[in-house]
Symmetry: C2
DNA sequence: GTCTATATTCCGATAGAC
DNA sequence: GTCTATCGGAATATAGAC
């Protein structure tokens, strides 16, 4: 892995652990054994680094989307959930939640970069739900996009809340969501 | 309102707007027309101020709980939602979401203060759901505490996500949640 | 209770040598 | 591409006068 990629990876970890405003170039320099000036060589400003983190996560999302393209709706949804499972196992929140709470304190370029990513995720989950409903494996009555917002906010929110209420609540919520989606109504 | 209360109110606003790590005593001093040293007289440390903000919100929650005690379950749930509606109208996220994303960068005293508050809210919503189900006005299959987590994370999450996806998504989600709860299954 | 003044620390960022 | 050195600014916090 290049130095640049290592910086992005460690910055990403810190943003999901402590928040964008709570991590510093010095934190990275300590972990990497290089000086802060060297980090500035790769990313002139902290905003530049933030944007790189968003792009990296976006690519990761798109790769997961592509890798599960031929699978059924349930597998796709489980792939989507797997992202949050991994985050939870590391005590992290998700990038959207972390950046959105701090959004109005950040450079507008961050919001600009984040917006299409969020919309892409929302579209992906919406499509998964539509497909699942069409094939009769998912059952829900709300509009697909609304149902996608519900699922996304449940996962985003439980990563945050379960930092306080306890780790087991994450699986409680994830399991309930799957069960509810699979259950036929009326 | 006393100076102390004004500080708490403005600090609360800033935490919900920009996050704990992004606001400063200087921000408060500017808004109030007093110096930062005067704020330190009331709150020796920023952590002390954070704790005061949590206590104030906790009292506000408990007051709402008490004020709606004799009402029906639907009214209680709408009272709970009204908190988020007010926040959304001001572009704010909720205190739990804001503090949880930054939690691991804050003084442990913050977490200690926040934990019983979150548990109190969770208990309240759980009780509302239990009552609603018993009286036949709410319908859901998950455990009441799990369903409460789902509702809370939906509201917490949509305050954050709708900063990006657009304001109307908040009402979309809120309406869908109420409709789903009121709909009888099978 | 609020002020001036200041101590201290930390952070983002840049210049210039290697 | 990484280093040393440093600038400029901002933030928390404290001392002491009023």
């Amino acid at each position: 892995m290049t130095t640049k990629d290592t910086i992005i990876k460690l910055a990403s970890d810190l943003i999901l652990e402590k928040g964008f405003n709570a991590f510093s170039f010095y934190d990275l320099s300590e972990k990497m054994g290089i000086k802060t000036a060297s980090i500035h060589y790769h990313f002139p400003s902290k905003t530049d680094l933030g944007i790189a983190v968003i792009r990296q996560q976006s690519e990761s999302f798109i790769a997961l989307q592509a890798a599960t393209e031929s699978k059924d709706a349930l597998s796709k949804l489980e792939a989507f959930f797997s992202i949050y499972i991994r985050h939870k196992s590391q005590g992290k929140v998700c990038l959207v939640g972390s950046l959105c709470t701090d959004l109005y304190s950040l450079d507008p370029a961050i919001e600009k970069e984040l917006k299409p990513v969020v919309e892409g995720i929302l579209q992906w989950v919406t499509d998964i739900l539509k497909e699942g409903k069409r094939k009769g494996v998912f059952h829900f009555s709300a509009a697909p996009r609304t149902k996608a917002l519900l699922l996304i906010t449940n996962m985003l929110g439980i990563l945050q809340v379960s930092r306080i209420t306890g780790k087991t609540d994450f699986n409680e919520v994830r399991t309930a969501l799957l069960k509810e989606l699979k259950t036929k109504k009326e």
